[in-house]
Amino acid sequence: MTEALPPKLKAMVEELNSVDDLTDKYEILIEIGGRLEEIPEEAKTEANLVRGCQSVVHVYGGLQDGKMAFRGHADAMIVNGLLTLLVEGLSGLTPREVLAVSPDFIKETGVVKALTPSRVNGFYNIYERVKALALAASNAGGK
């Protein structure tokens, strides 16, 4: 399944899959999230807030030279790691490529057990937001 993933995302997912223990996976996620560039305080707006997560998560992004550029921040480290998978892993793709990525890869990593739009689970809501951003960009003319 990871075959089909875009390269940056694939690398991170393989890193996660390289260990079995969930605590170890979380440590990797925290590390991955630690590499994420900080976003400016001004970007932490109501509009960029992802609802329905237990922690405070902001995501935004748009087209740059025909490719999506995502940025974001979560105030919890593990969620920040999840966010990084998407923000880093999908930046640099065309909107259409972003939309083609199924979120199912995350279940295989074992760090998110179920893709349901519930409070428990920040990932799904972040994924939906990223998709919405790509869709908006695509409608606005990106491919």
Binding site: K113, T116, V120
Partner: protein, 414 residues
Amino acid sequence: MLDVEKIRRDFPILSKTLEGKPLVYLDNAATTHKPESVIRALDNFYRQDNSNIHRSTHGLANKATEDYERTRRHVARFIGAACAQEIVFTRNATESINLVARSWAAENLKAGDEILVTEMEHHANVVPWQMLAREKGLKLKVLPFDDQGLLKMDELDSLLTEKVKLFAFTWVSNVLGTVNPVEELVRRAKARGAAVLVDAAQAAPHLGVDVRKLGCDFLAFSAHKMLGPTGVGVLWGREELLDAMPPYQGGGSMIEDVRLPEGTTWNLAPWKFEAGTPDIAGVACFDAALDYLEALGMDEVHRREAELTALALDRLQRVEGFRLYGTRDPSRRGAVISFNLEGANASDLGQLLDSMGVAVRTGKLCAHPIMRHYGVEGMARASFYFYNTGEEVERFVQDLQRCRKILGVPAVKA
């Protein structure tokens, strides 16, 4: 073709005896029994997965939440909903209807507006509207049925004045067995601008439901009448209606933010309508009930019930003094046969049949207006599900003959 012997082995209670005689359970319109898969799912839930949902991040909570939400998606597929967000879990069909009354109708109807129901409604689809009507100054109107148990369709249009904001009716009558022409009823009501609630408590267990085809706005039913656990009801509502409705009960999970003393905001539908800890185990295990029904196929379920009903009607016709309530037209009725025996009290019939191992329901069947229509104190009702057999039907009729004899003697004397 269903292999009924195989099916019956899936339902442990069906091999039970009642009063020392093999149980013949013909009270399926009240509640159905549960297959092994549902019973085991419940057992397994409490042994393996028990947790509160939606709130915690630990593994048990994730699993339980996923189990709960999976059933929501399954119900949505089962009835052809546009998305899982259109499915609200309640306690039972009754609560689903009350929710619409208190949330949608209390918000959208004003004094002088009218609600149309039919004369054949279960109390669940009458009393909530009466309570609301009293409170809000609404008027309740009633579409009558004829002595064959069929709605008087020719009176519908004149009742559907522009003041009628809601038409709430049952798809299948729990007393008369009538299968109402649901699509036509919806179409005619919508043409007049009324919203439509369909009580599918006796339909969803027996017929295939496709809410998109029906065209209604709300639809209510209970899990316990279709192999599922008690404590679980479903309200389906159009997404845009649910989104716009105020919440029903207040509490945990249904909020987005709570401020004191005010300034509280709501969660999205359907969670907005599910305050507090729901019947998590019940909802999670209703999934297995839907699996079971789907494996059989609702067409097959319906076909088999029609067969049993036809057999029963044929045999019952030969019982002296047998009086059927509702149509004899097989294409217009479900697997419910309500009746009386001349000169016998329905409650005596019920108790005697019970003593012979045959469980039927007797009394007013939660439908006093139907009793009044026919001028009777009560009725006896046999209702079938796909796991009943032709032999059970025969035994029921034989035992009914025996009741007639037992009761006949003093009846003649009096």
